[in-house]
């Protein structure tokens, strides 16, 4: 795979029906499409085919704060949605990152892109990923059929949960046109405890202790010798939780950051500001949290820099090293920023899982026209 962008046409259908017709046509002629929302989350530059953007299928359909439900068309800008929820004291609790700094793009992130990428930030370890907040969706499959699954209510077990499949499939199973998401109240008070001058092993111990408490720590990240814990709450909750955590971890001296600094610190950690502005390969590595220290050391030995999120469950590795060696250290590694590295971005699956994946892809996209090669090289 090369990083030279092939020449292509840009398509931006204005409605779901128009999108359906367009894909039906491409299905018939077996012409691939490179699908994007705002093009801010995944490197698709090397994919073949014309670019299909959902940006014009935009607008909030319903927002009911009293039932914590948002329905929006796929192309609705994420910023717009976040501002609307914030005005009601709510948010998308899974905290999707802004990846433009890391991927060097200047597009507008869309809600459809967030769902297609299952984009989930630091709070994922407490409240779950985007897929856990997805209530339902509408999409166009690879034959151009307009389909729906799930709904708008929080409890729904009616039929197979295809939303889980589509969320994180990066458009390879269908092009999203509308998503229903659960929103949650923003806890108004917050602070951060910073433990400076710690090793990754010490950070892992801090995380394990803090996350075994009922204080609902909503961020646990490590970078440059500091372990950070984010504490949030309503009313007296935050102060109580902060004091209990400080007492529990009193063997170490902690810096307490106020609400405002907390916001910007976690925004930076979420968006990986520390790995932005370079072209070095960037890997997203999922591990069992207790394996974080050994994995971090092994990755560092390849010569790059590392940061840790999700209490040890997520490691970002920014640095050199052949893909094969990174994957030898950590089986579940995804190449987020290629930086010239060739080969598949996603980790290989077990043979039986691959067989099922291929079967599912044939069902949703029989002609193989939706972002071909993005997930299944």
């Amino acid at each position: 795979m090369t990083t030279d962008a092939p020449s292509r046409t840009g398509l931006s259908p204005a409605s779901e029906a128009e999108l359906g017709e367009l894909i039906a046509e491409r299905h018939a002629t077996r012409q691939p499409l490179r699908i994007t929302g705002g093009g801010t989350r995944v490197e698709t530059g090397a994919l073949s085919g014309d670019t299909l953007s959902t940006a014009a299928i935009s607008g909030v359909v319903t927002y009911e704060p009293g039932e914590m439900t948002l329905i929006a068309r796929a192309g609705t800008p994420l910023d717009e949605i976040q501002a609307m929820l914030a005005a009601e004291g709510q948010s998308l609790a899974f905290e999707p990152a802004d990846m433009r700094g890391v991927l060097g793009g200047n597009g507008t992130s869309t809600i459809g892109g967030v769902v297609a990428a299952n984009a989930s930030g630091p709070r994922r370890m407490l409240v779950g990923a985007c897929r856990d907040h997805l209530l339902g969706l509408r999409f166009v499959d690879g034959r151009g059929r307009v389909l729906k699954n799930g709904g708008r209510v929080m409890k729904n077990v009616t039929g197979l949960d295809l939303g889980k499949l589509l969320c994180g499939a990066h458009g390879t199973l269908g092009v999203l046109t509308e998503v229903a998401l659960k929103t949650l109240p923003i806890l108004p008070d917050r602070c951060t405890l910073g433990f400076h001058g710690v090793t990754v092993d010490e950070a892992a111990q801090i995380f394990a202790r803090a996350l075994a408490t009922p204080y609902e720590v909503s961020g646990a990240a490590f970078r440059d010798g500091t372990a950070w814990l984010r504490v949030e709450g309503l009313g007296p909750q935050m102060g109580y939780r902060r004091d209990r955590l400080l007492a529990l971890l009193q063997l170490r001296e902690a810096e307490v950051l106020d609400a405002e600094v907390t916001l910007s610190l976690w925004r930076g950690l979420r968006d990986l500001d520390h790995f932005a502005g370079t072209a070095t390969p960037l890997w997203r590595v999922l591990v069992k949290p207790s394996l974080a220290p050994s994995t971090v050391r092994a990755l560092q030995a390849l010569g790059g820099a590392v940061s840790v999120d999700w209490g040890g469950g997520l490691i970002w590795y920014c640095g050199p090293g052949p893909a094969q060696e990174v994957r030898q250290i950590a089986r579940h590694a995804t190449l987020v920023r290629r930086g010239g590295l060739a080969g598949p971005a996603f980790a290989p699956e077990a043979p039986a899982v691959t067989r099922l994946s291929l079967g599912l892809r044939r069902v949703f996209d029989p002609a193989g026209i939706l972002n071909p090669g993005l997930m299944d090289q």
């Binding site: 704060p65 009293g66 039932e67 004291g89 299952n118 994922r124 779950g128 897929r131 856990d132 499959d141 059929r145 389909l147 729906k148 699954n149 709904g151 708008r152 209510v153 929080m154 409890k155 729904n156 077990v157 009616t158 039929g159 197979l160 949960d161 295809l162 889980k164 499949l165 994180g168 109240p185 108004p188 996350l211 075994a212 408490t213 009922p214 309503l234 009313g235 007296p236 909750q237 109580y240 999922l286 591990v287 069992k288 949290p289 207790s290 469950g313 579940h332 995804t334 996603f346 699956e349 077990a350 039986a352 899982v353 099922l356 994946s357 079967g359 044939r362 069902v363 949703f364 997930m375």
Partner: protein, 479 residues
């Protein structure tokens, strides 16, 4: 249910012999006296003894049984504890039941990485029991939790009273060992916070035994809260109670549970359990969690919201006994209703803002069908549980109750909700699926099943309307 395959029933001795060849003797039952125990689940109106029952102890034994059934093209009905209210484990006369009851081992408790790995025949309650000494718990808590198994919870994506805050099974399932229809064993997910590729575990959860049998599960565990306390709020109207629910949610307080009981239910509960509930149109039980000061702060906020709506009563619990008294009536609601007669329990969900309207319409439908209905449900997420009372000994009464139920479920879909919030489709709601989904929506779901179960042997005649699935089943029969 479709006509059972006489050819398969004729071959019963050979099928049982083939199963016995690969399984321990006591793991295969086909004596009609014994298989009768498996003739139904908690939807007792429908019964049919299976051809045979297999009770494996290991994943390998489940796989061996699946291989035999696949080779001989015998339908398989997976079964946990048989507590499904939707007929999810209803057998057919030509099927082999593969039950997970003997898969009872707790394999790993890892508090550092916050998960437990179990064989899926363990009961829901025993998982939290195992975790108690460690200070952790498993969040999904269906009301059948004493009996129901993790296998059944995964198959039906079970919820419970506390899922407003903690989510349902799919939000708490990290990994699964799955036996596919041809006996192949696949591992999905694990202790990592995935998914990696396509979220097949998310697809599997709630698939009602259509895709495979889960034999081992890695479950997310949570530290136990310091304390929990319910309050009881009585209102003189359904509408105002519904409004209170919406205002609590809007306020930023996120209770772990908001339960709703209407007057019919309240009277039944009072006669049965003497819980001391107020005599009014609607009662909410709202539970909050945390330390004492946190709980008091949250209850003060809820009191302020409720007071503005002129409640008939606002009752706080000051100690464990009073908390138990508040929950006592709600927990005995289904038993209390049982004393009034036979009932069917539905579980359609509606958007929270549509609760008052839905309750009003259910009242009207009740008058039209001439059958009484009681409402007791999880209000925070709009998951209703109308209990339709009828007399099973009265000819035609069950059919009337079912027709009433179908009307309620159509209402749920019409106001933007769904047919089932946590019980599943099973056979009960199978033929209503066309109300919620268009043919193409159902078609792609069946195409997905076809990938996992190309011979359509798993949990036959459930979930998908029979007329819609017929072409798929006919094609499968040729494979």
């Amino acid at each position: 249910m479709p006509q059972p395959d006489a050819g398969i029933i004729e071959r019963a001795p050979q099928i049982v012999a083939a199963l016995r060849e690969v399984l321990p003797d006591d793991a295969v039952i086909w004596d009609p006296e014994e298989t009768r125990a498996y003739e139904c689940d908690a939807l007792t109106a429908y019964r049919c003894p299976p051809l045979a029952v297999v009770l494996p102890r290991t994943t390998a034994e489940v796989a061996a049984a699946m291989r035999v059934c696949h080779r001989l093209r015998v339908p398989v009905v997976p079964r946990g504890a048989g507590t499904s209210l939707a007929g999810g484990a209803l057998p057919t006369a030509d099927c082999v039941i593969i039950a997970t009851l003997r898969l009872r081992d707790v394999l790993e408790i890892d508090t550092e990485n916050r998960f437990i790995r179990v064989q899926t025949g363990v009961t829901n309650l025993s998982v939290s029991g195992e975790l108690e000494p460690h200070g952790f718990f498993y969040a999904p808590d269906p009301s059948s939790q004493l009996a129901c198994t993790i296998a059944g919870n995964i198959a039906m994506n079970s919820g419970g009273a506390h899922c407003l805050k903690y989510g349902v099974t799919t939000n708490n399932l990290m990994g699964a060992t799955v036996v596919l229809t041809d006996g192949e064993v696949v591992g999905l997910g694990g202790p990592e916070m995935g998914p990696m590729g396509l979220d097949m575990m998310g697809l599997l959860c709630g698939s009602e035994g259509q895709l495979g049998i889960v034999t081992e599960a890695t479950l997310r565990i949570l530290p136990r809260p310091e304390g929990a306390r319910p309050v009881l709020i009585g209102f003189d109207g359904a509408e105002v109670a519904g409004e209170c629910v919406a205002r609590i949610i809007r306020s930023g307080v996120l209770p772990v549970a908001i339960e709703y009981m209407d007057d019919v239910c309240l009277r039944a509960v009072e006669a049965f359990a003497r819980a001391g509930y107020p005599d009014c149109a609607a009662v909410l039980i709202v539970e909050v969690e945390g330390s004492v000061p946190e709980i008091e702060d949250q209850i003060a906020r809820i009191r302020e919201i409720a007071s503005a709506l002129n409640p008939v009563e606002f009752r706080e619990s000051r100690n464990a006994d009073e908390a138990m008294a508040i929950w006592k009536g709600r927990k005995s609601a289904f038993g209390a209703m049982g004393r009034l007669g036979d009932y069917i329990c539905l579980d359609g969900t509606v958007p929270v803002s549509k609760l008052p309207y839905a309750l009003k319409m259910i009242g009207e439908l009740s008058r039209r069908h001439g059958l009484e209905v009681a409402n007791v449900f999880h209000a925070g997420d709009g998951n209703m549980h109308p209990l339709i009372l009828f007399n099973a000994n009265k000819p035609g009464d069950l059919a009337r109750a079912e027709a009433f139920g179908a009307d309620i479920l159509r209402l749920c879909v019409d106001v933007g909700g769904c047919l089932t919030g946590e019980h599943g489709v099973g056979v009960e709601k199978r033929d209503l699926m066309g109300k919620q989904y268009d043919p193409a929506d159902l078609d792609i779901q069946m195409a997905v099943k076809d990938v996992f179960d190309p011979c359509w042997l798993l949990n036959p005649a459930k979930v998908f309307p029979l007329d819609a699935s017929q072409p798929w089943r006919e094609e499968a029969a040729r494979r």
